[in-house]
Symmetry: C2
Subunit: 532 residues, 2 copies
């Protein structure tokens, strides 16, 4: 069997990230940058005769071709195909259902929405029932009151109108107040840009920062592939820094410095640092000291800190607590003049898990008024984000309080979800660690486990023979045998020669034992089949 590459020194000499080249691992180099050199075959304009259009893969924007997004990639496409087969012909596979563990999509796996949030949304969608007597019997008193409050914040009570391009001012006031409660430092509603989920906010910042492949963005490896995809689409260079699996996916500032200098020496101007806390796909929660070092690094280097804080409510271990980077920087005495910081938040994660509502915001601090105007202009081109998502963003930052009619039920729903997630994380972590050749760090937070799997030479050769990366090969075999959908680690980036997969902790608790059994059985037979 192949030996684990556990030696950090050795790792630093031989690192690459395969995620943008699923079928063709890159040559190893610690400082490998993902630049957006146009593909060599992309410049022909010739129209193929007999076709309706001159458009071919050779003539579309090569940045689009280059972009990859693994969590909805080929494994998921295969899963959708299998699901259709199961529907058309029940019993056609050895499993009854597809278990989507590929994506942080809680409600698709049975998680129920928070009742209070949905009551308010329904009332804002159809305000003409607010005055009716039947409504009292159907909705909680505080949801009715909150709906009135929100409607009064919307000019003309028009929930069907475009809003200010940053979002409805009254809702931004509520969110800013929620941030103040969370952080203990002031928040300005004019710093908030409400967006359709966090993804468009990330794109907006990449669009602002990236001019060419000579502009680099420091991203963790492993990373959430929105970042590599967005950097590719905007034609920049992903400058990787490496989370240390051996220390629970630790982030070492010395590595940030090293990668930054290395990028500089190649003519890459690093413009921003992406930090995902709690980590996706890695589940670690940063320690306060570590966050201070990161802030200091960004301040010293004059680069923008892009803080992905969408999992701020998802912390499962008592010894760790979420601290926003804004709170950390303010507690260090740093203000607007010291650090350019963007914090991303979303209604899709947390205990709410309202992915389909596409709500979110970014808090933009430490930028000049002229730059802010440019961000506003780009936001205005798409007019505004959806109002239901805006309302929901205000609700998650201002949930029911002690004394409100819904408070007890809200608390029960919230804590029920979070404690169940913590149990599921632990059960799955233990299950992975009990598998031969698999090691799995704890999910301190977020919604994922990212176990490492040691694959035999025989398995690696079998993967090569079908032009797959070994981790994709394993995931495909797992899906075909069990209906369980994992995402290969190569979709997120991983140290060269190591293999991982990402698994969400989201399947409902009553399904976890069956998942563990199916996974364990499959894994055993896979390992036996490919033993060297």
């Amino acid at each position: 069997m192949r030996k684990f590459v556990t030696d950090r020194a050795k790792r630093l000499l031989s690192i690459s990230c395969q995620y943008q080249h699923l079928h063709r691992p890159l040559s190893s180099s610690q400082s490998r940058l993902f630049s957006s050199d146009p593909l060599s075959s992309s410049s022909s304009m010739a129209s193929p005769s007999g076709s309706s259009t001159s458009l071919t893969l050779q003539t579309i924007n090569p940045k689009v071709l280059k972009c990859e997004y693994a969590v909805r990639g080929e494994i998921v496409t295969l899963a959708q195909k299998l699901q259709e087969e199961l529907q058309a012909k029940p019993g056609s596979h050895s499993f009854d259902e597809i278990l989507y563990c590929n994506i942080g999509n809680p409600q698709s796996l049975g998680q129920q929405p928070i009742t209070f949030f949905r009551e308010v949304l329904a009332l804002c969608d159809h305000p003409s029932i607010l005055d009716k007597s039947e409504t009292q019997g159907l909705f909680s008193a505080d949801s009715i009151e909150r709906a009135w409050q929100i409607l009064d914040q919307i000019p003309g009570r028009a929930t069907g109108a475009y809003s200010h391009s940053q979002g409805i001012k009254g809702l931004r006031d509520t969110i800013a107040a929620g941030i103040e409660v969370r952080d203990g430092f002031p928040a300005d509603p004019n710093d908030l840009f409400l967006t359709d989920g966090a993804s468009p906010a990330v794109h907006m910042m990449m669009q602002l920062l990236i001019r060419s492949e000579k502009d680099g963005i420091l991203c963790p490896i492993p990373q959430y592939p929105l970042y590599s995809a967005s950097i590719a689409l905007h034609g920049g260079s992903l400058v990787p820094y490496y989370l240390d699996e051996a220390t629970g996916w630790g982030l070492e500032v010395s590595d940030l410095k090293k990668q930054l200098e290395d990028a500089k020496s190649k003519g890459i101007a690093v413009r921003a640092l992406v930090v995902i806390n709690p980590g996706n796909p890695t589940g670690q929660v940063l320690a306060e000291d570590n966050q201070r070092e990161i802030v200091e690094f960004c301040k010293q280097e004059g680069i923008v800190l892009l803080a992905d804080e969408v999992y701020q409510e998802n912390v499962y271990v008592p010894e760790k607590k979420f601290h926003s980077f804004k709170k950390i920087s303010r507690s260090m005495g740093y203000g607007e003049e010291d650090l350019s910081l963007v914090s991303f938040q979303s209604v899709s994660k947390g205990y709410y898990g309202e992915c389909g509502k596409r709500g979110g915001y970014m808090e933009v601090t430490g930028f000049g008024a002229d730059i802010r105007e440019q961000i506003y202009k780009v936001a205005s081109v798409n007019l505004c984000s959806n109002i239901s998502g805006q309302i929901l963003s205000s609700l998650v930052m201002s949930p029911p309080k002690v004394g409100d009619e819904s408070f007890e039920s809200y608390l029960e729903e919230r804590d029920g979800i979070l404690s169940s997630l913590a149990r599921r994380a632990k059960t799955l972590e233990d299950a992975f660690n009990s598998l031969e050749g698999v090691t799995c760090n704890k999910a301190e937070g977020a919604m994922y486990l990212f176990p490492r799997i040691q694959l035999s030479e025989k398995a690696i050769k079998a993967a090569e023979a079908v032009k797959a990366t070994p981790d994709a090969f394993y995931c495909r075999r797992l899906l075909n045998a069990t209906g369980i959908v994992f995402v290969p680690g190569s979709g997120f980036g991983q140290v060269s020669g190591t293999w991982h997969f990402r698994c969400t902790i989201l399947p409902q608790e009553d399904k976890i034992p069956a998942i563990v059994t199916r996974l364990t059985d499959f894994h055993k037979s896979f390992m036996d089949e490919y033993r060297d």
Copy 2:
């Protein structure tokens, strides 16, 4: 006074579009292309000392700097400031309220949503009330039935889950069926991509088509500035073609050909033609014959037809009817092999006017499977559009039918809105035409009038003195004097030396007389003040 430039031959010799350079009219040239040459001052990377970040207007992405979006531009920013002043100090201006005629945002001006649509949305947001007896008293029977139908189309009835990246399959089935009813030709749900309003769909196509400033997109002048903004953000070249004001904003295919050839001679590869029908800001509805010529042109040249059909329900004159480009091309016998066609639709327009819901779709036909996969991949990076918007898209393409409980009230609401819009369009058109030096084409469709105003040399010089274009100068003066918000024609593009503004037809009918009076009084005093 300056003479109207009515001679078409003269116009063709002297055309420019000012909309990307509000304060600095370009040198005249019929074939002026809007290319994305980087700004000369944009390459410095130096960090200004004493600042928190190296980010300045000189170091952000110059494509962002170049992008303009007039309908939320400087005039609107001024309007928001005046509104705040009015709120803080009532009576501080000579008017009581700001009248936003700048943007097609019906519900912000008091238009009520269609009751049935909102009932269904509310029920889908909070499905747990569907079974309750009180619900029967609050909601129409067919809205309850429709909500059940929709929930059954959503896997796990989870309206809070990410959907398929093209949108929920069952909703796409409904939309496809609605398109078939509209056109009389088949529609495939797999051709539909549901998006957060039409704007992200337009961006997605521009992203796919544009590789560099050597790629051109043929756009009407005047145009809706989403197009110029999106082309600028993606670094392409806007290749203008000119709608003929003298013939009711006629589109001449000979001009398309001329502009295409001219672009080719400059090394610009034209990849697509944008047609907005009904027209924005120009309000014309294309004749069927004209549409056939356009289809033939795209087929012959092998370029993609991007059909902005978001105003398909907004036609106000009996002699014109909306025909989709898909229907036209299919009725010509052209299929998938003959024409690459994208049709954009939105829930923001029509009689529904649900701008804040951010729903819409594009129907993509005549592209190879490999290109479609690339579009899907880009859609998947943002996961999916918001589910309420998806549901609403299905509702507008499948409203209540004869026999449904809501049918009569739905019809009354719909026809009330559309006939009122037709009356408002006519009243405002007549009002503009009664002003000295103003001529205004009929709004056959859409939501706007685009009157032309003849400004004196004195007015033009006064504008120059404050570094404004003459049309922006007029609009600013109008706003300061009356609270009425128009958008200067330079934001849309106009023939060199002519001046226009865009005015929506959306203010409520009872406000129109006051608007006309205020406008007329202002205009008279403006003309007197600046008489040569």
